[in-house]
């Protein structure tokens, strides 16, 4: 950042208009969330009035026709599915990025990267369809019923992997060549260089990639709807069918009226709350890392 109040640099007109133009654009981007939260609050207000915040965690189950709106099992479903998928996708995603950048011969690196880019664009319905028709019967043969937390984790993993790989690879590509030269000059082997020099340097990019991956996992709807079973229960093991908060909204919103519909928006708010918590944690983590660096 090059600016100071006693700037001796000449002031350019273009800079002035640029700054205001950019501020305006940033404002648009920033106000989106506000609009969405307002929308969610407005739609879920009837639920808060008639059902009350407590019931969402203390009711006996999710039976809207009988005015019972327990959200906790679906909360667990969402958490476990996303957690499982990121645990698989993080190492493999970073590994793929490292592969593209440092291990693959150039005739392989480009096609492999193309493959991953392609996968980033495949619709969730196609993943879901493949999961329903190929993956779920496979799991069913191993352990019925088939649609399960495991299926959800595997499909989510496939879906967020391209995001992580591409973002991490882009940041690896931006590391100045000098860094690699220095490391080689110190006699480091490829793996040691990656582990102790490259990955720490690309930390910010890795972080962004992982973050976008988790965000995608938390928000995924259609594919989960098709492979997880949609039974409202807290999963006790991998083969239990689950319903996530997002699948719940998708499944019921077109058919719900009145209070039931509002409760679906409440679950949307709950998801937002989860994401906010996650973002705050991520920011705190990042700040700690940044401060550790400067020390």
């Amino acid at each position: 950042m090059i600016s100071s109040s006693s700037n001796i640099l000449p002031h350019f007109h273009s800079d002035h208009s640029l700054l205001w133009g950019l501020r305006f654009l940033a404002l648009i981007a920033g106000s989106l969330l506000l609009l969405i939260v307002m929308f969610l609050l407005q739609e879920s207000w009837p639920a808060f009035q008639h059902v009350g915040l407590r019931s969402f965690f203390t009711d006996e189950g999710w039976h809207p026709s009988e005015d019972l709106y327990l959200l906790t099992p679906m909360l667990w479903g969402t958490l476990w599915a996303s957690l499982g998928s990121i645990m698989l996708a993080a190492p493999l995603g970073i590994g793929s990025a490292v592969f593209i950048q440092y291990y693959a011969p150039s005739f392989l690196a480009k096609p492999y990267r193309r493959l991953i880019e392609l996968l980033a664009g495949i619709p969730s319905v196609v993943f879901g369809l493949w999961g329903l028709v190929v993956l779920v019967p496979l799991i069913a043969r191993w352990q019925p019923p088939g649609p399960s937390l495991l299926a959800g984790i595997l499909i989510l993993f496939l879906m967020i992997l391209p995001t992580i790989t591409l973002v991490v690879q882009a940041s690896l590509a931006q590391i100045p060549v000098s860094v690699i030269h220095h490391a080689t000059a110190l006699g480091l082997s490829r793996w040691s260089m990656i582990r102790s020099v490259i990955l720490p340097t690309a930390k910010a990019g890795i972080f962004t990639g992982l973050f976008l991956g988790v965000a995608r996992a938390l928000g995924e709807t259609m594919a989960i709807l098709m492979v997880c079973g949609n039974v409202v229960q807290s999963p006790s093991h991998l083969f239990d069918p689950i319903r996530t908060l997002t699948a719940n909204i998708a499944l019921e919103v077109a058919y719900a009226l009145g209070t039931h519909r509002s409760t679906l928006f409440v679950s949307g708010l709950l998801l937002m709350a989860m994401i906010v918590v996650f973002v705050v944690m991520a920011e705190g983590f990042r700040h700690r890392e940044a401060n550790a660096h400067t020390k």
Binding site: L92, A215, M222
Partner: protein, 284 residues
């Protein structure tokens, strides 16, 4: 001793990295192979260009392709300028503790995690009802732009931040204005991140289903204006696979067309970016 253990580590890591790459490549190739297996028979030029018949079981996907193109086009036309601008703002004009910047960054992070269906319902309420656009391609494009914005901004911002400071110092020493610095020096250097973000965003836009059901709708007729309802490819795939008995073969064929489109887009985007970078890049 040290070199020996280093050698084993090096071997192991090579195996692991190659192994994971092969594992991933295999699973994805099996997915693509599945699509090819089920859908290849239906593919033909007439499939690509003719309208759907018999609830999509027969005929093609011509109007749907056009609608999808329009929706995604609107999405990127809106999201790229706003995204790039916000990213530059966040990267160049705000520091870590700047309040406005932190607020925006935080809100974008949360936005990235909002489920697609919530975007769909929000888009319906804002664009279709409040702004009166109804079920239309425009509503769909605008909604998708909201979804895609966080991805573009985050990756682009990261890549601007990754540029070392000497470039900026040199530019200042040469007396460049801020705008020139950003436009001619920083932007080309940040190209990898911008490209990755745009491609990810584009991919996300083309892959989106739930958000579009409520905003651009279901109509599979050839759209005559941006205010017409238009069915997107992903919705068509969903409808054929889940709603229409016997729609399976065409669902797979549509998926293949989508994949083909993505290939074309990815290739051209990378080609364009490489061209621009080689034209503008300062020698390191």
């Amino acid at each position: 001793m040290l070199t020996q253990s280093k050698g084993i580590q090096e071997q192991c890591s090579t195996w692991i990295v190659w192994g994971s790459a092969i594992l991933i490549a295999l699973s994805f190739l099996s997915l693509l192979g599945d699509l090819l297996w089920h859908g290849w028979a239906q593919l033909s030029w007439s499939f690509v260009f003719s309208p759907p018949q018999n609830a999509g079981r027969e005929g093609g996907i011509g109007p749907i392709l056009l609608s999808t193109g329009l929706i995604v086009g609107i999405c990127m036309a809106i999201a790229l300028p706003i995204g790039l601008g916000t990213a530059i703002f966040l990267a160049e004009y705000t520091q870590g503790h700047h309040r406005f910047g932190r607020l925006i960054r935080g809100s974008l992070d949360v936005l990235a995690g909002v489920p697609s269906i919530v975007f769909g319902l929000f888009g319906n309420a804002l664009f279709c009802q409040a702004l009166g656009l109804g079920f239309s391609i425009l509503s769909g494009g605008l909604t998708l732009a909201c979804m895609v914005l966080p991805i573009i901004i985050r990756t682009t911002e990261e890549s601007f931040r990754a540029i070392t400071f000497d470039q900026r110092f040199s530019a200042a020493a040469l007396g460049f204005s801020r705008s020139t610095t950003v436009g001619c020096i920083l932007l080309p250097a940040a190209m990898p991140g911008l490209l990755a973000g745009s491609l990810l965003g584009l991919g996300r836009a083309m892959a989106e289903t739930a958000a579009l059901i409520f905003t651009s709708g279901y109509v599979d007729r050839m759209p005559e204006s941006l205010l017409d309802s238009g069915r997107a490819l992903s919705i068509h795939i969903y409808d054929l696979a889940m709603n229409v008995a016997g729609g399976n073969p065409n669902a797979y064929a549509t998926a293949l067309v989508l994949v083909g489109l993505l290939l074309i887009i990815n290739f051209s985007a990378s080609w364009m970016a490489e061209k621009w970078t080689t034209l503008n890049q300062l020698p390191t």
